[in-house]
Symmetry: C2
Subunit: 328 residues, 2 copies
């Protein structure tokens, strides 16, 4: 196996977040489940945008956030995901490129606009997400940069990409290419409801192709239809080489065969939890590919998550290089 050009190659939905502060009443009145992500149509997105408070546009997307943060921490990173050739698509491309991420995917032309996620942040710092997938639906196997995939130590797949149907096929193919090249395949479950929509497909991919699994408590319980976190965690341990399971303020649990490491959450000022899980995965993977042990990689994950939680928006504006040096 040749040395890799990239440490991490992420594949996910390329999304611009529109982040606004709202009260619990707004979230309830508009039929959202607080803390969850729901898919909405172009029409619903238009209506919700008209109703929501003034927003702030920042590049988002779960795997894309992970890639941006990992690059900020010093990892060599590539990202595949589909935008359109419009203002938001150009902003997405600019922002991820500027963090140092290689981003070769061609924009979708003459079809749907760049995806947007309308995010309402409530006073408890919880985020509720409404995603119009737009151009992301155009992502397919032809967008797989096979050379880049073969040349990455770990490919990192975002569970949300199970929603656009062609992307599911691209996932399977990307995982196969990576494994043929002797690389590792990581997956983030993204959202408990997304897992519920695609449970069988998730389980098949995990059992056949996934080496490293990221999930939070609700997601891992949804995947295995277990009430109890410990029961679900044991099932994950049997299915994958390495599972990194986040538990909010309770920290995270990392399982690798007989090894188990519990990591405390890093202290954080609660402002906006958007991107906390994405940043955790970034910190863990950036540490892991560097050869840090599970505990040190987990601590860097927790520190990156704390940086994301302490500010408005998903990608921390703090000095991530310094974080990588101190180890969190």
């Amino acid at each position: 196996m040749s040395p890799a050009r990239f440490d991490i190659l992420g594949i996910g939905n390329a999304i611009v977040d529109v982040v606004a502060s709202a009260d619990d009443g707004f979230v309830a009145t508009h039929g959202m489940t607080k803390g969850a992500m729901q898919l909405i149509s172009a029409e619903q997105a238009g209506a919700l945008y008209t109703a929501m408070p003034p927003g702030q546009e920042t590049s988002g997307g779960s795997a894309a956030n992970t890639c941006a943060v990992a690059a900020g921490l010093g990892a060599r990173v590539a990202f595949l995901g589909k935008v359109a050739d419009d203002d938001l698509g150009r902003a997405f491309r600019h922002d991820i490129t500027e963090t140092g991420v290689h981003y070769p995917t061609e924009p979708l032309l003459g079809a749907a606009p760049t995806a947007r996620c309308l995010i309402l942040v409530t006073p408890d710092a919880q985020r509720t997400m409404n995603t119009y997938l737009g151009a992301c639906v155009g992502f397919d196997v032809s967008d797989l940069d096979e050379a880049a995939i073969r040349d990455s130590s770990i490919i990192y797949l975002e569970g949300y990409l199970f929603d656009p149907p062609q992307a599911q096929q691209a996932f399977q193919r990307a995982a196969a290419i990576a494994h043929e090249a002797g690389r590792l395949v990581a997956l983030s479950l993204s959202d408990a409801f997304c897992v519920g929509r695609h449970r069988a497909a998730f389980l098949a991919l995990i059992q056949d192709h996934v080496d490293i699994l990221f999930a939070n408590e609700a997601e891992i319980c949804s995947l295995y239809e277990e009430q109890d976190f410990e029961a679900a965690a044991l099932r994950a341990r049997d299915d994958v080489e390495l599972a990194a399971l986040t538990r909010g303020a309770a920290g995270s649990t990392i399982l690798r065969g007989a090894e188990r490491v519990d990591i405390a959450a890093a202290p954080a000022t609660l402002v906006d939890t958007t991107g906390a899980g994405d940043a955790y995965a970034a910190g863990f993977l950036a540490g892991y590919v560097e050869g840090r042990d599970l505990e040190a990689a987990g601590r860097l994950g927790s520190a990156a998550a704390a940086a994301a939680i302490g500010q408005f928006g998903a990608r921390p504006k703090t000095d991530l290089r310094a974080l990588a040096r101190t180890g969190g």
Copy 2:
């Protein structure tokens, strides 16, 4: 004179800000004057955007910021300014409308894109601005909503609008309409370099048409070509009914005939000075049209400016209604 439908009607450039953190080296290397606003071409905007760090898009524009903050403080507000029919234009329209501002200007079709201001915020919280005027150049007398102007207690003109040539003519006409209807005309000088570019036109407008003048120390000194603030302030007092002059951390000085009120700056955490002057004008005008005295109006201006300075971006996300109630 009939009771007014709006307390304030602002006319200004309709701009989306792209705000990024940068160090002093970046600002110097790219030939910018720290703290100033410079106009850039579409080509320069493209090149600078490519070079600058990841950004965050938020609605901006000087008078538009003033309008958004004044509406947040409870004033009845309208705004006139030109965007294009693109993603950024739609975001601008959404954000200003959602603050409760009436925004009747039709978008510019098939021509330049929505204006953007590339803002670099240095570690000292100072902002350096690079504006591509785009669709703003399309603003002309046909965009003047005469009924709305006649129906506003105060029209508020942004000095930056002296840059697009047709807008200057629109200014003169708007001021004439307002005065015919017995309304007040306010002007913000916006930027010392902008004043330098258009000094004679500024002086003519001020002497013929302006009742209330907003300026900071550098701007008022540039207007009257005086070295000394006090000398420039006396000149302003002779030219307009009411001058509200801001002095950064030293607070503000309000002059009306023989009256002089000095207001201390409200305590603020320095994060980003973008929009501080705009917010001051908003607080002052919102208090003034409500009938507060000069000192109370000035205090509300200082409090709104402090809210703008304490966060990233020009329009405070804090509870402005509460600020209006407590009076700053």
